[in-house]
């Protein structure tokens, strides 16, 4: 699926259909699919184990536009080459991927859109006031 990076964002959706925030939340908390809570915490009171390697996801939708969130998920190394955040929609340039995962991105285009749609709903928390 081709996509276009403009500045620090991918403004256009990767899919024809709009992402679904409820499905997105389920992916975010899933330890096999999204893996987000290995590193991040966030507004997930039911999740006992949350990581502290990365900032809380709370308020992510206030701090970032949809396009910025999309690029962050697709390939965070474009924003910070040293980041530990996996590039969820990248299959090139990887090293020794285990056979079961070879040639597949961590999340497919529809899942990226679902997660992005969910993050866009996180409008409270730090930074919420910064944008009009």
């Amino acid at each position: 699926m081709p996509f276009e990076v403009v500045g620090d964002a991918i403004p256009a959706s990767l899919t024809a259909e709009k992402g679904d925030p409820a499905r997105g939340r389920a992916i975010v908390v899933d330890r096999q699919k999204g893996l987000c809570l290995l590193c991040h915490s966030g507004p997930f009171p039911e999740q006992r184990f949350q990581g502290d390697i990365a900032p809380s996801l709370e308020g992510a939708g206030s701090r970032w536009s949809e396009g910025q969130l999309r690029l962050r998920l697709v390939d965070a190394t474009r924003l910070n080459p040293d980041t530990s955040m996996p590039s969820y929609y990248k299959i090139d340039g990887l090293n020794r991927v285990a056979p079961a995962f070879r040639g597949k991105p961590i999340l497919d285009a529809a899942q990226i859109e679902d997660v992005m749609a969910y993050l866009a709903t996180l409008r409270d928390g730090p930074g919420a006031q910064e944008k009009p």
């Binding site: 276009e4 390697i53 190394t77 080459p81």
Partner: protein, 258 residues
């Protein structure tokens, strides 16, 4: 997947190796320090440390005649308390016969095949782990002391490069976790600094004793990478680098880990 890159001057994406925060000597901590007090107590007390069962098996194997030569390790090496003291603290070492570095497990198998004329012991087999744990115990409390042998240098350098290289579908390097994020939590697990001073260990998750290479294979599978094979040169190179990184720390074998 084709990307239309518009952002200028940003082609540098692949396999970025960059400066990681190397751990200063005064900040170094054994993996034991990240464990619960219960697990620490289990390691500290030989009567409750399950790794001591492997030590007992190792002592028996040490004295058992084997192979066409019908010789026991003890027939040539005598009491392990003397002859094996400090061996694990300085391995991997350079092996003149193969012109390659060798770790303790590799050396044990070299004696099995070359000196005892017996079949090599399988990686992670009960008997090989018993012998390496028994040999490891003879260095307990001593400082990790890799030899100053410049023939090892190119291998150790490659081990360092492997440590800093991104791996697997999740695209992490060892250093991302163990140098940039030690002490933080990965989900529920505290990330240790990755010092190899307690191996072989008894790991509660395995319900068994296992080698350093088994531990490293777990870390590699965790980032969805194809692990190196047991005994591969990549693992020996990583072991050399880890030993240098842990220089001066006390050997804890047999360690207990969660």
């Amino acid at each position: 997947m084709r990307a239309l890159w518009i952002l200028p001057g940003c082609a540098m994406l692949l396999a970025v190796t960059s400066a990681h925060a190397e751990i200063a000597a005064h900040e170094r901590k054994s993996g034991a320090e990240f464990m619960s007090p219960q697990t620490q107590a289990m390691q500290a007390d030989d009567a409750s440390n399950p790794g001591m069962l492997a030590v007992l098996d190792g002592e028996a194997a040490w004295n058992e005649k084997a192979g066409a030569a019908n010789k026991a390790c003890a027939d040539c090496h005598g009491a392990a308390e003397q002859s094996m003291k400090g061996v694990s603290a300085r391995y991997p070492a350079f092996n003149a016969a193969t012109s390659q570095p060798i770790d303790v497990a590799g050396q044990v198998n070299q004696c099995r095949t070359g000196r005892q004329q017996a079949q090599p012991l399988r990686a992670e087999s009960r008997e090989l782990l018993a012998l390496t744990t028994y040999i490891g115990l003879q260095s307990r409390g001593m400082s990790v002391a890799p030899p100053d042998d410049e023939r090892l240098t190119p291998f150790r350098e490659r081990g360092k490069a492997l440590f800093n290289q991104r791996l697997g579908q999740l695209n992490f390097s060892c250093a991302h976790c163990h140098e940039d994020n030690w002490g933080r939590k990965l989900g529920s697990a505290p990330i240790p600094q990755a010092h190899a001073n307690a191996y072989p260990i008894y790991r509660l998750e395995w319900q068994d004793v296992g080698s350093l290479q088994r531990r490293l294979r777990n870390c590699m599978s965790g980032v969805r990478a194809a692990p190196y094979s047991y005994g591969s040169i990549e693992f020996i190179e990583l072991e050399l680098f880890l030993a240098e990184r842990a220089r001066g720390m006390a050997v804890e074998t047999p360690g207990v880990r969660p």
